[in-house]
Symmetry: C2
């Protein structure tokens, strides 16, 4: 039992609740025989759902009853104060207490972040946590952070993001020297604000495989592995990109259902369109890492379905295997020793 | 001659130089019989190019010789100081002197902005110019500003962008009460930085058709006509969106050329794909407005081709017809009178 990776799943918080989380958990257990999953939520509902899949007695699965649910409307502070028995809080508590190696939740981002910070605390040397996720690119994917945990990030924060992004890309993709880029605006007169300019100097001297400034379109070119940016900017970039991708795929679908001829064209094109859609399926990229905490917390999209939630579990498993928080801590320590 | 709209074209600055600008000019003259175009650049080269199209003596076209060219590498200050006879500078000078009603250039954004500010000056009540362009959405398009002229915009600047965006959407699309949104990040704990929060209060009280905060993906939903944001954020959002759209269309093309079967599928799909591409053709959206100046300056993409540059000319014409700078000035005056 010792070698199993134990992951706590908040089953109650996402839009699809345990109807998505339970089958995702079962899929994950089938896929990875080194996993042990703890389902946190209403015991009766969980048992009902598990019995639907005839999986009431899976030895790599346990249920942990919780009585409360954090809603999307709950303010982080109020969730912290008033929902101490929520599925989200219990999941994070289990990580703190060493009963789980990671927690996955599709709940309220703000509440999850606040709970993670409060219960697990920050790694020494990290001021602020960052949200990081992989975004599909021409040649694979690009990690981007921060995606909304921080606004008005200072140069020092951006530098810390570079450390965390480096360790994540190393751990997940096995890239020894991931290429780091700093998001900026180019060409124009004013090249970046003061924080970005100062971060540029810091990161340059940090021993990274630093390729310098990148722009918004570089997220997709595949020439950089990790893009560092302020959370406001990163959040807007991510949502804009998702928005345009969604619009284009909807409009393409519309174009193909206009009339009999286009429907025929669609029929012939189906395999092409399907393989195209598969490659850029956002569900295959579901699962954002909350980096900088003393523990592993993965945020799934609120609307995640079975496939998407299972992907978030896979990311959690990978971070547990690779001991990402420990690697971030060591990297920081080394940098601080070099400094002094 | 009085009723003609006179537009000065910088023919030397874009990547494609006068090979793109001259045919674009000729197309525009054919399309709009109320246009008069002034081609600024090397006289001999312009004559050679015009004679290729057998258009040496078009009565709605004139040539203005200039000896210098601002390159993409020129720093704005150095372009201002050292290239007083550049095609870019002469185009803006003509607007200042009343010989042209607008200028269009595909040159260096920073130099064009600096030249515009220096020669034309700002409208009273506007602290900083903004770059604004239309971005295709599900239902039409959304104007977004600022796209990179300003970083660290204050609440007051964002408020001024709301005024300018309102007038541009009114002028170009005839929307009496365009819906204004303020770009923010949602859901998360920290909802926006101080500037955005303060701008929210200012815009709320400004008599706009203000719909409140919007997020990155709202650019494409068609529920908002004008999105106001800081230039750093707007630039990243625009470039990210362009990047993902480009990647998706390239990958789609690749999917269709994989093998004989997919080539057949492509053949059958061609009309569908073409109409789809046409709708989102970025060239049809080429032409960013420099708002806030005492005069009309349109920035074309550096890589603009004939079709794209002609679109930038159309935007200039529309802004001249609708007297956009005058409308922005009156709107501001009215707001200031209400304030006091």
């Amino acid at each position: 039992m010792n070698s199993l990776f134990r992951i706590a799943l908040d089953t109650m918080s996402g839009d699809n609740g345990l109807q998505a989380v339970v089958p995702a958990a079962l899929d994950s257990l089938k896929k990875h025989n080194d996993l042990f999953l703890i389902l946190i939520g209403d015991e009766q509902q969980l048992k009902d759902e598990l019995s639907r899949y005839k999986q009431l007695s899976n030895e790599r699965l346990s249920i942990r009853h919780s009585t409360q649910v954090v809603t999307m409307e709950d303010a982080p502070a109020s969730a912290l104060r008033n929902k101490k028995d929520s599925s989200m809080r219990v999941a994070i508590n289990l990580v703190k207490e060493g009963e789980a190696d990671a927690a996955v939740s599709a709940g309220n981002t703000g509440a999850l972040m606040a709970t993670g910070r409060f219960v697990l605390r920050m790694l020494p040397g990290i001021d602020r946590p960052a949200i990081c996720t992989a975004i599909p690119s021409t040649t694979g994917h690009t990690y981007m952070l921060d995606l909304g945990a921080n606004i008005d990030s200072s140069a020092k924060h951006l530098y810390q993001f570079a450390v965390m992004g480096t360790e994540l890309a190393r751990a997940i993709d096995g890239k020894e020297k991931p290429r780091i880029g700093l998001l900026n605006i180019g060409q124009e007169d004013i090249k970046g604000n003061e924080q970005v300019k100062a971060a540029h100097e810091l990161i340059k001297q940090g021993g990274f495989n630093y390729i310098g400034f990148v722009e918004g379109d570089d997220i997709f070119h595949g020439d950089v592995d990790v893009i560092v940016c302020d959370g406001f900017v990163g959040n807007v970039a991510l949502k804009s990109s998702e928005g345009v991708a969604k619009m284009l795929s909807q409009e393409l679908k519309k174009s193909y259902t206009k009339n009999i001829f286009t429907r025929f064209a669609a029929l012939v094109s189906l395999p092409v369109l399907r393989s195209f859609q598969h490659r850029f399926d956002h569900r295959r990229y579901n699962g954002a890492s909350f980096l900088g905490l003393k523990g592993i917390v993965i945020k799934s999209h609120g609307g995640a379905d079975r496939l998407a939630f299972a992907n978030a579990i896979s990311i959690a498993r990978k971070e547990v295997m690779e001991k990402v928080p420990g690697k971030i801590e060591r990297h920081l320590k080394k940098l601080m020793e070099t400094d002094s």
